[in-house]
């Protein structure tokens, strides 16, 4: 199980080495056995998985193609709706919520033969950078079990690193895919905003939320993205742009590719992370890329901007968890006002409450112009920084995180320091450009470090071409 890729699964199925049902049973039992080490899965879906696997086997038996993801065990972050399965958002408030419909991404994965084997742990409502904000306990990093896997998609990164799934889905609002990918030593991709439908992704910050893939190599991540990508009439913000063949873009040839290194990112980078990232730059040069320094002058405002916009949107998006309908309801509330206060007060964790309060504040009468409106203006400036840079370079490379995976509990009581761990990832999120993390080596303690690649809007082909070449060099 541990070593499978999408192509090895396909080869095994077509050569009848194993059936999809056999592989699914094996994947489920291995994942269930391994899970106590990491707490990465919150639930498993054997019935749904086996039904999907049977369909794949039937296709093969009928001489049809098993599909781009035929028989591939896929894990799904528990903020993405899966019909008939619990979708908890790692929150007590949705502890017993069974999704009545499938996210568009899930429909497309199953149509392509993918097998959903379980739902993964994460920070509550995807808010966090260490996966310690889960109502169902933290996830441990399979590379070093005393350390965090990153967040918020910590469970989805851990299962792929651990080999208990071949690929997985995460969601990224400010770095929630790239940072855990980097901490766990795998590939994580945040596509262009609008590339993958958000229908069925539980909203945290709508203008920043993305669904994206985790995989153990770029090719698998690209395949999974290609399956999910494309216009969805159920998401007004999904893009019309046609989806190219990402496989065809991975030519291995990156000679002459112009690559920018933002000076603003490197001035803070120190220690082994900086060393490994700098070594990656030399490697890229050796591969024939042309490296040059660029400036993204508004980078310093990114964290403030991000935490205003994402908390504002979150404060509104999370209003629906009010105890009136599907949310776990606080008992013994005599009045409507008590019902709201008790349900939300008891149900939400500390970090979620902190963000709801921050967001409510920045949208309040008299503060909107000073905070939210100004933040949107800065967001435009940050996007313009990137647009300008991409007139000169084909891709930008940078660190993913200032530091590798930290120890559980290390930053729990210091939210500001926790927020700062997103410093390199949130600019790309704010601009809505495609970005990814790809492994670039380990520290002396054996902790993985990721290299971030960022491209212009809908520039996934260039991003994958560079990442694939880097990975194979």
């Amino acid at each position: 199980m541990t070593k499978h890729t999408i192509s090895s699964v396909r080869a095994g199925l077509l050569s009848k080495e194993f059936s999809a049902v056999e592989l699914t049973r094996q994947a489920l039992s291995f994942a269930e056995a391994e899970n106590p080490k990491t707490n990465a899965y919150l639930s498993f879906s054997p019935e749904r998985a086996l039904a999907a696997a049977e369909r794949v086997d039937a296709r093969i038996a009928a001489g049809e193609d098993p599909g781009a993801l035929g028989g591939v065990p896929v894990a799904v972050k528990d903020v993405i709706l899966t019909k008939g399965l619990k979708t908890t958002c790692a929150s007590k408030l949705l502890e017993n919520f069974i999704a009545p419909y499938d996210a568009t991404a899930i429909e497309r994965i199953e149509a392509a033969g993918g097998v959903i084997i379980g739902k993964t742990n994460c920070d509550e409502f995807a808010m966090g950078s260490s996966n310690e904000n889960s109502a169902f306990g933290p996830v441990r990093n399979p590379v070093a079990l005393d350390r965090v896997p990153g967040g918020s998609s910590g469970g989805s990164a851990a299962v792929v690193a651990q080999g208990t799934a071949v690929v997985s889905l995460g969601s990224d609002t400010g770095g929630s895919i790239r940072q855990p990918a980097s901490f766990c030593g795998i590939v994580g991709v945040t596509p262009t905003y609008g590339r993958v439908s958000r229908y069925g992704l539980v909203a945290f910050a709508s203008s920043l939320d993305h669904i994206g893939p985790f995989a153990r190599n770029t090719r698998d991540a690209a395949t999974l993205l290609e399956v999910m990508a494309g216009r969805d009439p159920k998401d007004a913000t999904s893009a019309e742009a046609p989806v190219p063949s990402y496989a065809a873009s991975m030519t291995g040839n990156v000679k002459g590719l112009k690559i920018g290194i933002p000076v603003e990112y490197m001035k803070h980078a120190t220690g082994e992370t900086a060393d490994l990232v700098n070594a990656s730059f030399r490697k890229l040069q050796a591969m024939g890329c042309e490296l040059r320094e660029i400036s993204l002058p508004n980078t310093d405002y990114a964290i403030d901007t991000y935490y205003i916009i994402c908390t504002a949107e979150a404060s509104s998006n999370l209003a629906r968890y009010d105890g009136v309908r599907y949310t776990t309801r606080s008992q013994n509330s005599g009045t409507l006002s008590d019902l709201y206060k008790n349900t939300r007060g008891e149900g939400f964790g500390a970090e979620v409450k902190r963000r709801i309060m921050l967001g409510t504040y920045v949208l309040s009468h008299g503060y909107y112009d000073a905070y939210y409106k100004k933040a949107q203006m800065v967001r435009n400036l940050i996007t313009q920084d990137f647009n300008k840079a991409f007139t000169e370079v084909d891709a930008i490379v940078a660190p993913v995180s200032p530091f590798p995976a930290f120890k559980l509990g290390e930053k729990v009581n210091d939210p500001i320091s926790m927020y700062l761990s997103d410093i390199y990832t949130i600019t790309g999120s704010l601009a809505g450009i495609p970005c990814m993390s790809t492994p670039c080596g380990n520290t002396s303690e054996g902790l993985p470090v990721g290299l971030q690649i960022l491209c212009k809007h809908f520039g996934e082909e260039t991003m994958f071409r560079l990442a694939d070449a880097f990975e194979n060099s």
Binding site: L81, K234, A236, S316, V324
Partner: protein
């Protein structure tokens, strides 16, 4: 509450603005494809989007936009090429998202007007803006066994497409407000944007009312009066509110900005919440929707598809058909009425007579039968044919009055009825002359009176001739012939 007497109210100038919510007549809800069926069992016309399930997203219905644009054009508004949706955040059980999707600082359309006439005086009332939004569900507080403890929520209406039409504070009396709402409703019904059925809540109205001393320049502090769900209540509530405010100010009190609820049973308004308690809605742009773009081409296409507006039609009826203002107004009250009339006018070739027959005899028959003009058993074409026969002198007015009820009963054209009953006007002049001679011979006394100057007796003689001809002699012919014969 003490109310001010009329002589005191007369010292003050009321200032009134209306906020009108109209439900658009689309097949589906505004942000999902649920049907907009009225009267379905509770919570059956719902889906993940209008239930606000986690992960569900709104998608704007272009049908709703089309109707909203038509409404804006009917109210002479400028439709903005780009408008934007915003979230209005508040907690309430019948609002499952925890926010309403509305439009805030970039509405669909602005700067329109509605022309009204009150007591013969024409006045233009400004329309500040028209914006789109979704409706909430319904909280049901009564009618269940445990209604003393629980409230039930029906989300069928949740996500119904609405437009809100905000007027300028241009009205100065409840009569003007009444006239404004009448014109507005009529215009929206004409362009088929909404049924505007107030009983079903398809048209809802709030009024902003303030008073100031006559001659003052600064408006007084206003109160917003809600729950005005009929034209009568609108007028009652505004008049009550004016009298209340004047009494308050006259007694040395100070108006506070507040929201008040009209109680239809008592005819009073009561305070609901003051400005201090007002919600902070924390508006911000709706990130799940892209900006709404209405291209010039689309707007032009919609404008071209619009029917003539009632005010324009009214004016045309006066100039083109020579109708009186009042008749033109009656005949343009509804679009079906105006269309019916135009066909009668065109088929008959005599618009004025057509108007009289439609507003008189046919209207009377419809009223007695409890039918609307759309349900009339007499088609516009048939009424037109009847009017034409009268105009051309083929049928006397008196005979026509007998024919119409028969048409109403059977749905037949007038021709066959007239033929069957032999009602055609007598065209044989000899026969008419014979009847006249007989009448002259039979009434020597009256003939003598006429000759001695009592011309009023002519009416009696004509009546005798008509009676003898069973109403089939043409009255003008009889008149002329009698006059000639009597010298």
């Amino acid at each position: 509450m003490e109310l001010a007497p009329p002589e005191l109210i007369a010292k003050y100038q009321p200032v009134i603005g209306l906020e009108v919510h109209v439900q658009l007549a689309t097949r589906t809800k505004i942000f999902c494809s649920c049907e907009m069926a009225f009267g379905a069992p509770p919570n059956t016309n719902v889906c993940p989007v209008c239930l606000a399930l986690p992960g569900a997203l709104p998608v704007l219905s272009m049908d709703a936009v089309e109707l909203a644009v038509k409404a804006s054009l009917a109210l002479h508004c400028r439709v903005n090429p780009v408008s934007r949706f915003a979230r209005k955040n508040y907690f309430y059980p019948d609002s499952p998202k925890g926010y309403q999707i509305s439009q805030y600082d970039e509405p669909l359309a602005e700067h329109g007007y509605v022309d009204i006439t009150v007591d013969g005086v024409k006045k233009r009332i400004g329309v500040t803006r028209v914006h789109m939004e979704d409706d909430a569900g319904k909280s049901v507080h009564d009618g269940f066994r445990d209604s003393d403890r629980n409230t039930y929520v029906d989300l069928n209406r949740c996500g119904a497409p609405l437009i809100e039409i905000v007027s300028e504070p241009d009205m100065r009396s409840s009569d003007e407000a009444y006239a404004y709402l009448t014109e507005l409703k009529q215009a929206l019904q004409f362009v088929e944007v909404s049924t505007c059925d107030m009983e079903k809540g398809h048209l809802r109205c709030d009024a902003n009312v303030s008073v100031m001393l006559k001659g003052a320049e600064k408006f007084g502090t206003r109160a917003e009066v809600k729950n005005l769900n009929s034209f009568r209540f609108l007028k009652l509530a505004i008049d009550y509110e004016i009298a209340r405010q004047v009494a308050l100010v006259e007694s040395g009190g100070r108006m506070v900005q507040e929201t008040r609820l009209f109680n239809a049973d008592s005819g009073e308004t009561v305070s609901m919440r003051s400005k201090e308690d007002a919600h902070d809605y924390r508006y911000f742009p709706e990130p799940d929707l892209v900006p709404l773009r209405v291209s010039d081409e689309w707007k032009a296409r919609l404008a071209a598809s619009m029917p003539e507006l009632p005010a324009d039609k009214r004016q045309r009826f006066v100039t083109e058909y020579g109708l009186r203002e009042y008749d033109a107004q009656v005949l343009t009250l509804t679009r079906p009425m105006s269309e019916f009339y135009e066909e009668v006018a065109s088929v008959s070739g005599d618009p004025k007579t057509a108007a009289n027959w439609l507003m008189g005899d046919l209207a009377g028959l419809l009223k007695a039968a409890g039918k609307e003009i759309e349900e009339s058993p007499v088609s516009a074409k048939h009424l037109g044919e009847l009017v034409a026969m009268v105009s051309k002198g083929e049928l006397t007015g008196k005979s026509a009055k007998d024919v119409l009820p028969k048409m109403f009963e059977t749905g037949e054209a007038p021709g066959p009825i007239v033929d069957r009953e032999g009602l055609k006007t007598m065209s044989d002049m000899g026969a008419v002359e014979k009847i006249i001679d007989d009448v002259i011979a039979a009434n020597p006394k009256q003939v003598e009176q006429y000759k001695s100057g009592k011309t009023a007796v002519m009416g009696f003689l004509v009546g005798q001739v008509m009676k003898a001809s069973r109403g089939q002699a043409a009255a003008n012919v009889v008149n002329d012939m009698l006059k000639t014969k009597l010298g």
